[in-house]
């Protein structure tokens, strides 16, 4: 437009008036145009003329501008952008709409769109340049560009993520499938049409068919008669109710072999997923154990019956012994008594003392038999253990033991009190009676008899003791102390059959306790026994 104008302007320059009018028009158009106009020398690049908008835009006054080049004014920070315009003008005579950055006087950077034409004004080669402020546009573009870039980056990021995820999912799927394929449990997916959709390696082994034989086939095809089984009903239930079912099944294969499986049937979108563990070996072992247990029980029953039998035999033996041994003894003793009572006159002193010996010994043997029977009876008597008030019990025992005794005996009960314990009262009373009567008996040669009784806790037991200041015994014979009919003293010194401590030992052992003793010859003995506490 400007180009045409200037041409027009040139052609009109011949006529003076018209020229003057045209100049006015040009002047006005140039200076008042909203576009920033300038005219520069084509060779020096120095400004020849700039319009108002140009001045306002660049911040330099007209005076500061005219005669200076844009480079001198430092208007164009990127001269290569300007070079582009120059090149275009040189080639085509004009350059249009080149966007470049300018720096105003205040140092502000702005964007302009530049169009320039080469013109000859009064024989001088000039460029007439029009600039439009496109800073706002450029800013918007810039923002857009940035937004776009951001978007692109986001997109790229997203794509990368998607790709990564996809890779991961594929890897996961691969891993899961690999896991599923190779895990020890059998895994299968059965479709609603009863067809095998998936089977793993373990299932091939469990089901006795290869994957190829199973996939796509129905369960009924592969296992005829399965409709009648529990497992079929459970799968059907899972199809319908869509709840997981846990089940232990016995399964008969088409080859008639039997297997046991633990199944977990759970609903999946395709149908059901079945996880199966082959428990055949375990089941076999269980059955074996059950069988063994039954056999064992049978054996126990047999043994118990045998034991009951033996016990009965023993009981009848005991009875026989007591009966059959006592009967002849009674006769010996009885007839000797008759002799003693009715025939004293016909016997001399030797005869009479022999008779006395017969009576004494047969009586003694009777006592031995009675003791033996009492001892064997311990093994058979049984009542549930209960809490025993030991203080009360020993009081009774002492009273009973002292009933026929005129000796002056001092009993010292430690703390006046004994710890209670669990036991069979009748038997424990016998223990106290034996120990206390022993203490009395074996201290009969001492001028003053002191018997100390006490108790204390040790571990989870109660320990009781009976201590005397009697004759004591030699510890080197200790191992004979608790034996049946074992005696460490002569009959003349201390009477007795030797059953008392054997009974003590047997009773305490029956209570899972211990019996022991300490003694110093001629100084005294101390007998200990332990019993369970009332809390045990």
């Amino acid at each position: 437009m400007l180009n045409n104008e200037s041409l027009h302007f040139q052609t009109l320059s011949e006529s003076g008036k018209k020229i003057e009018t045209s100049q006015k028009v040009f002047y006005t158009v140039f200076h008042k145009s909203p576009v920033m106009n300038s005219i520069t020398d084509a060779i020096t690049g120095k400004f020849i003329e700039v319009n108002e908008n140009f001045v306002r835009f660049c911040g330099y006054t007209k005076e500061e501008t005219i005669g200076k080049s844009s480079l001198e004014l430092n208007l164009i920070p990127h001269p290569e952008q300007r070079a582009k315009i120059i090149t275009s003008i040189k080639e085509k005579g004009y350059s249009s709409d080149v966007v470049l950055e300018v720096q105003t006087k205040s140092g502000e950077f702005k964007w302009v769109s530049v169009s320039a034409h080469a013109v000859n004004i009064n024989g001088r080669n000039c460029f007439i340049t029009a600039m439009v402020d496109v800073t706002e546009r450029k800013k918007t573009e810039e923002l857009l560009l940035q937004a776009n870039k951001k978007l692109e980056a986001l997109n790229a990021d997203l794509e990368a993520k998607v790709e990564e995820r996809t890779k991961k999912i594929i890897a996961d799927e691969k891993r899961f499938r690999l896991t599923l394929d190779n895990m020890l449990e059998g895994a299968q997916i059965i479709g609603f049409d009863w067809r095998y959709i998936y089977v793993n390696k373990a299932l091939e082994k469990q089901g006795k068919y290869s994957k190829e034989e199973l996939l796509g086939k129905t369960m009924m095809e592969k296992y005829p008669g399965i409709e009648e089984t529990d497992v079929f009903k459970s799968i059907q239930q899972c199809f319908n109710e869509r709840v997981a079912i846990l089940k232990e099944i016995e399964f008969t294969f088409p080859d008639k072999t039997i297997g046991w499986f633990e199944l977990k049937i759970q609903p999946v979108p395709e149908g059901v997923f079945i996880l199966s563990v082959d428990i055949t070996e375990r089941k076999k072992a269980e059955l074996e154990i059950k069988k063994l247990n039954e056999e064992l029980e049978q054996k126990v029953t047999e043994r118990t019956a045998q034991l009951i039998n033996v016990n009965k035999e023993l009981e009848s033996f005991t009875y026989t012994v007591s009966h059959d041994l006592r009967a002849p003894l009674r006769a010996i003793n009885g007839y000797a008594k008759i002799l003693q009572e009715d025939y004293t006159s016909v016997l001399d002193n030797d005869g009479l003392s022999s008779l006395a010996a017969i009576l004494n010994n047969s009586k003694k043997m009777g006592e031995l038999i009675d003791d033996l029977l009492a001892f064997s009876r311990l093994g058979r008597l049984s009542s549930p253990p209960s809490e025993i008030n030991m203080t009360g019990l020993i009081k009774t025992v002492i009273e009973e033991e002292m009933a026929d005794n005129s000796r002056d005996i001092v009993f010292v009960v430690q703390n006046q009190d004994l710890i209670p314990a669990m036991g069979e009262q009748v038997l424990i009373k016998q223990v106290w009676a034996n120990l206390i009567s022993n203490a009395i008996k074996y201290s009969k040669y001492k001028p003053k008899t002191i018997i100390e009784i006490g108790s204390y806790y040790k571990d989870d037991r109660v320990i009781y003791y009976v201590k005397d200041n009697g004759s004591g015994f030699d510890m080197k014979y200790y191992d004979k102390l608790f034996g049946v009919f074992q005696r460490l003293h002569s009959q003349e010194e201390f009477e007795g059959t030797g059953i008392g401590l054997a009974i003590v030992k047997k009773v305490i052992q029956r209570h899972n306790g211990h019996v022991w003793a300490e003694s110093i010859l001629n100084e005294g003995s101390c007998f200990y026994f332990s019993l369970p506490t009332i809390n045990s």
Binding site: R326, R330, G334, G366
Partner: protein, 144 residues
Amino acid sequence: MSPIEILFVEDNMDDATLTMRALKKSGLSNVLFHLKDGAEALDFIYRKGIYASRNIEDRPKLILLDLKMPKISGIEVLEKIKSHPFYKAIPVVILTSSKEDPDIKRCYELGANSYIVKPVESDNFFHTIKELGMYWMILNQPPH
């Protein structure tokens, strides 16, 4: 023959001799009748064999019964006595060699009145038998 007051069933002749001697010393031997085993005791009760002609009214006041006898045991004899309409009211004292005797409980269940263990020692034995005889014959009035 005077009426029988004590019926004594004992197979062991030694025990029988000693028991009868003890009772004799208490003045009870003349009314005592000794039967030598369970079979004879049953014959006596049911009036069979040599006792076929025995008077049924001749009823003892006390029966001393040994438990352990060959062929027919004291338990069986006791059972028969206690189920006999005519003899079941007679007190029966069981003689045994041992308090271990598993039949003692059974004896009480069948209605025995008491039991005594024959002691080995003769003083005791004589004493026990005498006491027993006296108690049941004199102190304890049998029901009629």
